[in-house]
C-alpha cells in the first residue's frame, strides 16, 4: 500500500486529502501514475487533467514526471507552489 496525499486545488477537486492505494505493477513513473489515476473517476480526471500543472513528490522530495517511483511510502500530488 502506498499513501497518496493531495494539496490545494488538487485536494479540493479529488475530494479527499489522503488515501491508501495499491498501485498496479504497470505504474512505474510519475507519468504512468497520473495516467492511471485519471481512470479512477471523474474527480481524478478533473483534478489531474493538466499534467503539466501537477507536481509530484516522492517521500517528500520533488521528482520529475519521468522519474521512477521506486517503492515509496508516500506520494504527493499538488499544484505549483506559491510560497514566500
Amino acid at each position: 500500500m502506498t499513501k497518496l496525499v493531495y494539496f490545494a486545488w488538487v485536494r479540493e477537486r479529488i475530494g479527499t486529502n489522503e488515501e491508501e492505494i495499491d498501485l498496479p505493477d504497470s505504474v512505474k513513473t510519475g507519468t504512468d501514475l497520473l495516467a492511471w489515476m485519471k481512470t479512477r473517476g471523474e474527480n481524478y480526471e478533473a483534478a489531474l487533467a493538466m499534467d503539466n500543472a501537477i507536481r509530484i513528490a516522492i517521500d517528500q522530495e520533488h521528482v520529475d514526471h519521468d522519474a521512477p517511483l521506486g517503492n515509496p511510502r508516500e506520494i504527493a500530488l499538488f499544484p505549483p507552489m506559491t510560497g514566500g
Binding site: V5, F7, A8, W9, A57, Q60, E61, H62, A76, F78, P79, P80, M81, T82, G83, G84
Partner: protein, 156 residues
C-alpha cells in the same frame, strides 16, 4: 570554513524580527552585515479578508532546510534563519522571514535573494484567498516571473 547550520521554522505563530535578527549577531564580532527580508500579506484593492496558507507538513520543513543548506554552501554566511508561517494570515501580517548574516554585505544580500526566489517556487505552500464579502476566492496562481527569477541562480 564549514557552512553554518541554518535555523528553519515552519509555524502558525507570528515571529519577532528584532529577536531573530539579534540571534544572529549577539555576542559576535565577526558579523559585518545582516540582511532581513520580511514578506507580508498584501491586500490588492481592499477585497481580501485573509490568505489561507496550506502547507505540506514535514516536507515544508525539509524542503526549506534543503534550500537553506544550499545557500549556506554557496555563500560565506555566519548565520541564516528562515521562518515561514502557515494558516490564515490577514493583510498587513507577516508571512515569511529570511535573515542572513555574513562578514560582508554582498553575500548576505545575495543569499537572501536566492532564498526568496527558491521559497517562491519550491517550498510546498499554497495560498488561497478569502474575500471580505464572505466568498471564497481562488488559489493564488504560480507566476512565470518567479520561475524565471529562480532559474537565474542555476549554475552553468
Amino acid at each position: 570554513m564549514a557552512a553554518v547550520e541554518p535555523v528553519v521554522r515552519v509555524q502558525a505563530d507570528d515571529f519577532d524580527i528584532a529577536t531573530e535578527n539579534a540571534r544572529l549577531t549577539e555576542g559576535r564580532t565577526d558579523v559585518g552585515a545582516v540582511v532581513t527580508f520580511t514578506g507580508l500579506c498584501r491586500d490588492e484593492g481592499g477585497t481580501l479578508a485573509a490568505l489561507e496558507l496550506e502547507h505540506y507538513p514535514g516536507m515544508a520543513q525539509a524542503e526549506i532546510g534543503r534550500i537553506a543548506r544550499e545557500a549556506a554552501e554557496r555563500w560565506p554566511l555566519t548565520g541564516l534563519t528562515v521562518i515561514h508561517r502557515h494558516g490564515k494570515i490577514a493583510p498587513g501580517e507577516n508571512i515569511v522571514l529570511v535573515v542572513t548574516a555574513s562578514a560582508h554585505r554582498q553575500a548576505a544580500f545575495e543569499a537572501a535573494n536566492f532564498l526568496m526566489d527558491f521559497l517562491k517556487t519550491r517550498a510546498p505552500f499554497w495560498k488561497k484567498e478569502h474575500r471580505r464579502d464572505g466568498t471564497e476566492g481562488g488559489w493564488v496562481e504560480a507566476r512565470d516571473i518567479d520561475d524565471k527569477a529562480a532559474e537565474r541562480w542555476h549554475k552553468t
